[in-house]
C-alpha cells in the first residue's frame, strides 16, 4: 500500500538514532526530520520511539548528567542521602552543567549505591567520589574507566570444566535427536529462570510444532528488576553455556537466527558475549553450516535502548522491531506469533545455561544437584543490608537462611533481619520469621511469594517497610510503559496514596476508605493490566500490609515511623525532589 509505513522493518531506527546521538550528544530536530525523509518513517513514529527510551536525549544533555540509582538495594544503602548530598554539593552550579536525577536499577545491587554519570556506571559510590567524577565531566575530561580485570570463576553449573566446550552441540549435530532433547528437558522439569517459571520443554515444543519456515530464538538478558544481578554474573563467567543453550534451542525448534537482547548497562557482558559469538563463528559452531553439517544458525547481539519493561517478552520483541516497548496482548504468545510475527523462543539467560548442563550430565545428575527435593542449581543475587552482597550458586531448595547467613555473611553491623524479598519488589516482602523458607518454586509460592529471578534483597531492623513499599511502587510507576490504563494511571495513584500515608495525619475513616480503595486498585491492576509489570505492582504494598500492618498504622494514624525514616527533614526533602513522575 503506498504511503503505508507499517510494513517497514523498524529495527534500523535505533542504529540511526544512536548514530545521530553520537554526533550531536542528543537528537536535534533537523536530523530527525532528515531521518524521516531518508527512511520514509513518519515523524511521529521517530518521536514516539525516541521519547520512550531513556537512552535518547531530545534536548542537549548537561555536561554532567548524574543519575543516582533509587531502587531497593541502593535505597537501602543510602541512595537518598547520596542524592541529597550531591544536590548540596552542586547547589550553585549553572544550568546545563550538572543535572542530578534518579534512575531505575542499574544492575549493580551488590555494589550499592550505584550512580551513572554520562552513562558510565560507578559503584560503591560516595558523594565525594561522584562529585569528583562529575566535575571532571564538566571540564570535558574522559571519565570512562577500564573494565576491572575479570577472573573466570569456576561454576558448578559448567559441565565442561577444562574440557572441550560445546560438547552437546557437537553430539546433537550428529544425532539430531531433537525429540530426545525435549523429553530430557521435560524429565528434568526445567522451568524458566527469569521469573515466570514456565516449563521450558513446553515452550520449545510449541515453537517446534509451528509450521513457519522462519523462527527465532531470543535470549532475554535484560534483567532490570531491582536486586536482579545473576544474569550479569552468568554472562561474565559462563558465556559459552548461554550461547550453547541458544544454539540447541535453534536446532531443536528449527530457528535459524538467535538474538541476545542485553541491557545497555552491561557493556562488559556485551563484550564477553560478543567475543564468545565471534569465537563460535571461527570454530564453525555458528553460521550457515554448523560443524560442516546442513544445519545453520546465526547469532547476534541487540543492545536494549533501556527500560525495565523491555524484559517483558513481548515488549522486548517490540523493542527489537524498533517500536516502543509496549507489551502485546496475549494470546497469541511469542511461541506462535513472536518477533516479526514469527514463532519465537524467548528464554532467560539462566534457563539457557541449564539446557547444556542437563544434556551433558544427564537428567538424574541435574536433579541431584538440588537439595531438599528440589532440582538443579540456582544463581541468586543477594543484596541490601547483608555483609557480603554478591551472586551465589546454590542448590535449589536451599533455605534462605543459609543463603543470607552462610553465603552472604549475615546482616551487616550485627543487626537483625527484619524482612527480605525473595526476588526483588515483585516477590513482595516476607518477615524475618519466614527466613527458613526454601529456594524453590513451590515453597516460595506457598509462602505467598515467588522464586522469581532469585533477587534476594535483605532489610535489617532499621528499615521502614512502608518506605520500602513506596520505593517499590515508584519503581513500577517509573517503569510503566503507559500502554494500558490500570498500570499507567494505577501505579501513579498507588504511589500518591502511599506517599500520603508516609506523611501521616490521616483520620481513621479516611484510612479505612484508603485501604478499601487500595484493595480495589490492587485487584484492578492485577486483574486487568496487559502484562506482568502492572499485575505485580501491588505485590510489595500488599505483602507489607499483610506482614507489617502495625507499622503502617503507626505512620498513617499516629504520624510515627517506628524506624525513624519517615517524618524526618531528610525524608521530606527527599519527598520534595520526587514530585513529578521522573524522579
Amino acid at each position: 500500500m503506498p504511503g503505508d509505513f507499517r510494513a517497514r522493518r523498524g529495527d534500523v531506527i535505533f542504529d540511526d538514532l544512536r548514530a545521530i546521538q553520537l554526533r550531536h550528544g542528543f537528537l536535534p530536530k533537523a536530523e530527525l526530520e532528515g531521518l524521516s525523509q531518508r527512511t520514509q518513517t513518519p515523524l511521529y513514529q521517530i518521536h514516539s520511539v525516541a521519547s520512550f527510551y531513556p537512552h535518547f536525549h531530545l534536548v542537549p544533555p548537561p555536561k554532567a548528567q548524574i543519575r543516582v540509582c533509587a531502587d531497593m538495594s541502593c535505597h537501602l544503602n543510602g541512595a537518598c542521602e547520596l542524592r541529597a548530598d550531591l544536590e548540596r554539593r552542586f547547589a550553585g552550579s549553572r544550568a546545563g552543567e550538572v543535572q542530578i536525577r534518579n534512575v531505575s536499577c542499574l544492575g549493580r545491587c551488590d555494589h550499592a549505591p550505584a550512580v551513572s554519570i554520562n552513562d558510565q556506571i560507578f559503584t560503591d559510590v560516595t558523594a565525594a567520589r561522584a562529585e569528583q567524577i562529575a566535575r571532571s565531566a564538566v571540564r570535558g575530561d574522559d571519565i570512562r574507566e577500564p573494565h576491572p580485570e575479570q577472573v573466570r570463576v569456576t561454576c558448578k553449573a559448567d559441565p565442561y570444566g577444562e574440557a572441550e566446550k560445546y560438547g552437546v552441540v557437537r553430539k546433537l549435530v550428529q544425532s539430531r535427536a531433537w525429540d530426545d532433547v525435549l523429553a530430557r528437558l521435560k524429565a528434568a522439569e526445567l522451568r524458566g529462570m527469569g521469573g515466570a517459571g514456565f516449563p521450558t520443554s513446553m515452550k520449545w515444543d510449541l515453537v517446534r510444532k509451528q509450521p513457519d519456515r522462519v523462527k527465532y530464538v531470543v535470549c532475554n538478558a535484560d534483567e532490570s528488576e531491582p536486586g536482579t544481578i545473576k544474569d550479569r554474573f552468568i554472562m561474565t563467567h559462563l558465556p559459552h553455556l548461554v550461547i550453547e543453550g541458544m544454539i540447541i534451542a535453534g536446532l531443536v525448534t528449527g530457528a535459524k537466527r538467535g538474538i541476545v537482547y542485553i541491557r545497555h548497562e552491561y557493556h562488559l557482558q556485551e563484550e564477553i558475549l560478543g567475543e564468545e559469538i565471534r569465537r563460535c563463528y571461527r570454530a564453525g559452531l555458528l553460521g550457515k553450516t554448523i560443524l560442516g553439517s546442513d544445519l545453520g544458525y546465526d547469532l547476534e547481539m541487540f543492545v536494549s535502548p533501556g527500560g525495565y519493561i523491555c524484559g517483558e517478552e513481548s515488549a522486548l520483541i517490540e523493542a527489537i522491531e524498533g517500536h516502543r516497548a509496549e507489551p502485546r496482548n496475549k494470546p497469541p504468545f511469542p511461541g506462535q506469533v513472536g518477533l516479526w510475527q514469527k514463532p519465537t523462543v524467548i528464554n532467560n539467560v539462566e534457563t539457557f545455561i541449564n539446557v547444556p548442563q542437563i544434556l551433558a550430565r544427564g537428567v538424574d545428575s541435574f536433579i541431584a544437584q538440588g537439595s531438599n527435593g528440589s532440582r538443579g542449581l540456582k544463581f541468586v543475587g543477594v543484596s541490601g543490608h547483608v555483609a557480603r552482597p554478591g551472586i551465589f550458586e546454590v542448590p535449589m531448595g536451599t533455605p534462605l537462611r543459609e543463603v543470607i547467613f552462610n553465603h552472604a555473611g549475615g546482616i551487616r553491623g550485627g543487626r537483625q533481619v527484619k524482612a527480605f524479598a525473595p526476588s526483588g519488589p515483585s516477590s513482595g516482602y516476607l518477615p524475618a520469621s519466614m527466613v527458613d523458607v526454601r529456594l524453590d518454586f513451590k515453597a516460595l509460592a506457598d509462602a505467598g511469594s515467588m522464586l522469581g529471578s532469585g533477587a534476594i534483597v535483605v532489610c535489617d531492623d532499621t528499615t521502614c517497610m512502608l518506605d520500602m513499599a513506596l520505593n517499590a511502587v515508584r519503581f513500577y510507576r517509573n517503569e510503566s510503559c503507559g500502554k494500558c490504563v490500570p498500570c499507567r494511571v494505577g501505579s501513579q495513584k498507588m504511589a500518591d496514596l502511599l506517599a500520603r500515608w508516609t506523611q501521616g495525619g490521616v483520620p481513621e475513616p479516611q484510612y479505612r476508605a484508603d485501604l478499601a480503595l487500595l484493595d480495589d486498585l490492587a485487584q484492578a491492576m492485577s486483574q486487568t493490566s496487559i502484562c506482568g509489570l502492572g499485575q505485580i505492582a501491588p505485590a510489595p504494598i500488599q505483602s507489607v500490609l499483610k506482614h507489617f500492618r502495625a507499622e503502617i498504622d503507626a505512620h498513617v494514624l499516629r504520624g510515627q515511623c517506628p524506624s525513624g525514616i519517615c517524618f524526618t527533614a531528610a525524608s521530606r526533602a527527599g519527598e520534595a525532589q520526587r514530585v513529578g513522575i521522573r524522579p
Partner: protein
C-alpha cells in the same frame, strides 16, 4: 462447547450463560455484541484495529486474569462472564482512575454531552474519584484552527492515532513519552497547527473525550438563503479538495461553507465591511475594486477667526505630494491580485480565492467585489478554509496563481527592487518559496544564522529584539514589507526576532538568490544597505532610550512609547477648552484632541496622537494604507477605505474617522452616480500646515505644549539630558 454439530469454521461459546455460535476468529467483544450483550469500552471502535489498552472491556474467561474482550478471540467451549462482580468492580476502578484525572465536564461533554468516559462513569455511579488528581497539568494546544487539543482530557485510548494512521493514512499522530507522563504528540511533538496535520478531522471524530474537539467558528454559521445553498457532508466529500476529510468532521462544520450564486452586477462583498469568510470562485468573472476615492484628507491653512470655512478636503497625491511619495505603488488587497494606484480595478475568475485575510484574521474587507457575469462561488468560514489550505493540490494551485498574477507586483513593490531585470524577476518567480506561519510562530530568531530574505504577502509580522526583562517591539510589517536584509548584508546573524502576529504568508528568497541579486544589481544593494543602516540606527537609538528610562509609572502609562506628546500643565490650565476648540476649528469642526487622558506628575497628557514607537494602529489595515513618515507622523494613504480598524486599534483613541460626502457609482443602477458618505481615517497631523499646532497656539495660559517626553521629563526621570 464445540460439538459434533458445530459447523466448520464456527465456534460455540457461552457468554453470560447463553450459548452462542460465531465464526472462528471473532473477538469475544464482537461475539457478545452480535448476541445483544453490550460490553463497555473506551478504546475500541468498530472501524479500527482493536488495541485493548483501556481495559474496560475485560471479561472473565476463567483464566488467571481477566481478558480484554476486544482483543481476545473466542475459543471453543469458552465460558465468558461479562458482568460478574469481579468484572464490574475492576471496570469501576478503571473508570475511577480515569475520572480522577479527567477535567470534568470536558469540552466534549460541554459541547455535546457525549464524553464517553463521563457517560460510562455516570452509569457506573462514580460521582467523585477517591484517587488523587493529577498535579501537573498536561496543557492545551489551540494552534490548530479546526481542532482544539486538551491533553488533560486525553485517556490515551489511541483512537486518534489509529484514525490518523490506519484510517486516513496521514501518519501525523502518535504516543510520546512513557508511563504516566505519556501523551499524544503531532510529528516531533509540534503543536497541532505547526504539524503536518491536514485537518482531516478523523482524530477529533475518533476521540471519546474532550481531548480533541471541533473548534468551529462560534456563532458564525453562514446564512443560507436564496442564491446560497448549504451542503451536506456527503456532497462536500465529492469535491476533490475535501477528499480524505472525515465525513463526521464536515458534518460538524456544516454551515461553515455554502455555495453561492451571484447575479451579474451583484455585490459579493464591500470594502471596509467586517467579515469572517473567504470566497472561492467556481464559475464566472468578478470585478474587484476600491470605490472609496483614492485621496487623503488635507487641512488647509490660513482660514481662521470668525469666518471659518470647512478647511479639510480630499486630495489625491498628484495635488498634494507628501514626503516619500515618489513612486507609484500598488495597493495590496486581500486577493491574488493587487490594484494599481491609478486604476484600482482588477478581475477575478474561476480558481481565485479571495478574502483569505478577512477569513483567517477577521480583518475588514479590503476591496469591493462585484459579479461581472453570473458568479458561482464557495463562501467559507475559517475552519473550512483551513482544511482547504492544507490540501496539497489546492495549495499548489493557489501558489501557482499567486506566482503568476501577484508575485511580480510584490517584488517590484519593494522600492529597491525596481532595478531588477525582467529576466531576474522571472527567475525569482520560479525560485522563491511560499511559506505560511500560524499566529505566534517565530519566523526568524535573533542570534540565528541568516539564510533568507522575506517579503510579507499576507498578515502582520512583529519585529522585536530581546531586552532584559522582555522584548522590545521594533516594528510591525505588513503586506509588501520585507525583512531579513540586515542579517544577510551584515554579519550573517539575525539581529531581531520576527514573529507572525496572525495568519502570515511570506515569500522567501533564499540566501543564495539574495546574494546573486545584490551582486548583479548594485542599485538593489545600495538601496537595501541604506535601509538596513537606517533600521539599525533606529533600533540602536531605541535600545539606548529604553536603557535610559527608569521603569515605572512613566513606562506603565505608555509615555515612553511616545515621541511627541501634547501635555497640559495643570497648574496653569484653567480647563477653558480653547485648545480643543482650536483643534476642531483647524479640522472642520472635528477635534482630534480630547482634554482628557493620563496624568504624569502635574501634567495631563492629552489624548492626541503620540506618534507611538509601537504603533498598534498599523496592525491590521486591510489595504496597508497607514504608515509613518520618517518624521514619525502617522500618515494615511490615499487608498484608505475608511473601515475604521486603525481607529479601534489605537489604544489612546487618537485616530478618528472623518466623513465626506462623495459621488460614487450606484451599485443599483449601473453607470449612474449617487452621493454617499465615505469615511477617511485621520489623526493629529501636528498641524503641519500651520506654524505651530493650533492647540498650543490657542492656549491663553501657556499651559499646552507639544514636547518630546524624554527631553521634557528628563529631569523628573532623574536623568541629566537625553538626546
Amino acid at each position: 462447547m464445540t460439538t459434533a454439530t458445530t459447523p466448520p469454521g464456527m465456534i460455540d461459546v457461552t457468554i453470560d450463560g447463553r450459548a452462542v455460535r460465531v465464526p472462528a476468529g471473532t473477538s469475544v467483544f464482537d461475539a457478545a455484541r452480535m448476541n445483544g450483550i453490550a460490553i463497555p469500552t473506551l478504546c475500541h471502535l468498530q472501524n479500527q484495529t482493536p488495541v485493548g489498552v483501556c481495559r474496560l472491556c475485560v471479561v472473565d474467561t476463567g483464566a488467571r486474569v481477566l481478558s480484554a474482550s476486544c482483543v481476545r478471540p473466542v475459543e471453543p467451549g469458552m465460558k465468558v462472564s461479562t458482568d460478574s462482580e469481579k468484572v464490574l468492580n475492576a471496570r469501576k476502578t478503571l473508570l475511577e482512575l480515569l475520572m480522577s484525572d479527567h477535567p470534568s465536564p470536558c469540552a466534549r461533554q460541554e459541547q455535546s454531552g457525549d464524553c464517553e468516559l463521563e457517560t460510562l462513569a455516570k452509569a457506573a455511579g462514580i460521582l467523585e474519584s477517591g484517587f488523587q488528581k493529577r498535579t501537573v497539568a498536561r496543557g492545551h494546544d489551540d494552534s490548530s484552527l479546526a481542532i482544539a487539543v486538551d491533553h488533560d482530557a486525553c485517556i490515551l485510548c489511541d483512537r486518534c492515532i489509529r484514525g490518523c494512521d490506519e484510517v486516513k493514512n496521514n501518519f501525523v499522530l502518535g504516543r510520546m513519552g512513557k508511563g504516566y507522563s505519556a501523551g499524544i504528540a503531532f510529528d516531533l511533538n509540534s503543536s497541532m497547527g505547526d504539524s503536518t496535520c491536514i485537518s482531516c478531522g478523523e482524530c477529533m471524530v475518533s476521540c471519546p473525550t474532550g481531548a480533541l474537539t471541533n473548534k468551529g467558528v462560534v456563532g458564525t454559521a453562514i446564512a443560507v438563503g436564496p442564491g446560497a445553498e448549504g451542503f451536506e457532508a456527503e456532497d462536500l466529500l465529492k469535491i476533490p479538495v475535501f477528499k480524505g476529510v472525515s465525513g463526521t468532521f464536515l458534518e460538524l462544520n456544516r454551515g461553515a461553507v455554502v455555495k453561492r450564486r451571484f447575479r451579474q452586477g451583484e455585490i459579493v462583498c464591500r470594502e471596509g465591511e467586517f467579515g469572517s469568510t473567504a470566497f472561492y470562485i467556481l464559475e464566472g468573472k468578478a470585478k474587484v475594486s476600491i470605490s472609496t476615492p483614492i485621496a487623503h484628507v488635507r487641512t488647509q491653512g490660513g482660514a481662521k477667526g470668525l469666518f471659518k470655512r470647512l478647511t479639510s478636503t480630499l486630495v489625491a497625491r498628484e495635488d498634494d505630494k507628501r514626503e516619500e511619495e515618489t513612486r507609484d505603488r500598488t495597493i495590496p488587497i486581500d486577493a491574488p491580485v493587487d490594484l494599481a494606484y491609478g486604476n484600482p480595478v482588477a478581475e477575478l475568475g474561476p480558481g481565485d480565492l479571495f478574502g483569505e485575510m478577512t477569513c483567517m484574521n477577521f480583518y475588514p474587507r479590503s476591496a469591493t467585489v462585484i459579479a461581472e457575469s453570473d458568479v458561482i462561488a464557495y463562501e467559507m468560514l475559517r475552519n473550512v478554509l483551513d482544511i482547504m489550505l492544507k490540501n496539497k493540490t489546492f495549495r499548489a494551485q493557489l501558489d501557482e496563481t499567486y506566482r503568476r498574477r501577484a508575485l511580480e507586483n510584490h517584488l517590484r513593490g519593494v522600492p529597491m527592487f525596481a532595478d531588477l531585470s525582467p529576466e531576474f524577476i522571472d527567475y525569482l518567480k520560479g525560485s522563491v518559496e511560499l511559506q505560511r506561519f500560524a499566529p505566534g510562530q517565530v519566523i526568524v530568531q535573533q542570534g540565528e544564522a541568516a539564510d533568507s530574505f522575506y517579503l510579507v504577502r499576507i498578515g502582520f509580522v512583529k519585529v522585536s529584539e530581546n531586552y532584559p526583562g522582555g522584548e522590545l517591539v521594533l516594528a510591525y510589517l505588513s503586506r509588501g514589507d520585507y525583512f531579513g536584509e540586515i542579517g544577510l548584508l551584515g554579519g550573517g546573524v539575525r539581529t531581531a526576532t520576527c514573529t507572525a502576529l496572525d495568519h502570515v504568508e511570506l515569500v522567501r528568497i533564499s540566501g543564495n538568490d539574495f546574494r546573486e541579486m545584490v551582486g548583479r544589481f548594485p542599485g538593489v544593494r545600495t538601496g537595501l544597505e541604506a535601509i538596513a543602516a537606517e533600521r539599525r540606527a533606529a533600533n540602536q537609538q531605541r535600545m539606548q532610550m529604553v536603557d535610559s528610562v527608569p521603569i515605572g509609572q512613566f513606562l506603565s502609562q505608555g509615555l515612553m512609547e511616545a515621541q511627541s506628546l501634547l501635555i497640559l500643565d495643570l497648574q496653569n490650565c484653567t480647563r477653558c477648552d480653547a485648545c480643543v476648540n482650536a483643534c476642531a476649528d483647524a479640522h472642520d469642526g472635528i477635534t482630534r484632541l480630547v482634554r482628557d487622558g493620563l496624568r504624569f506628575d502635574r501634567y495631563l497628557v492629552a489624548t492626541s496622537c503620540r506618534q507611538c514607537r509601537d504603533p498598534l494602529c498599523m496592525v491590521g489595515c486591510p489595504v496597508g494604507a497607514i504608515r509613518r513618515r520618517n518624521s514619525l507622523e502617522v500618515i494615511i494613504e490615499d487608498w484608505c477605505i475608511g473601515c475604521g480598524l486603525c481607529a479601534r486599534n489605537c489604544p489612546y483613541g487618537n485616530i478618528n474617522l472623518h466623513p465626506f460626502e462623495v459621488m460614487a457609482e450606484d451599485p443599483e443602477h449601473a453607470g449612474r452616480k449617487k452621493a454617499v458618505i465615505q469615511q477617511k481615517a485621520t489623526s493629529c497631523d501636528l498641524c503641519t500646515h500651520l506654524k505651530e499646532p493650533s492647540c498650543v497656539y490657542a492656549c491663553p495660559h501657556d499651559a499646552a505644549h507639544r514636547v518630546d517626553p524624554k527631553t521634557f521629563f528628563a529631569e523628573m526621570l532623574g536623568q541629566g539630558s537625553v538626546k
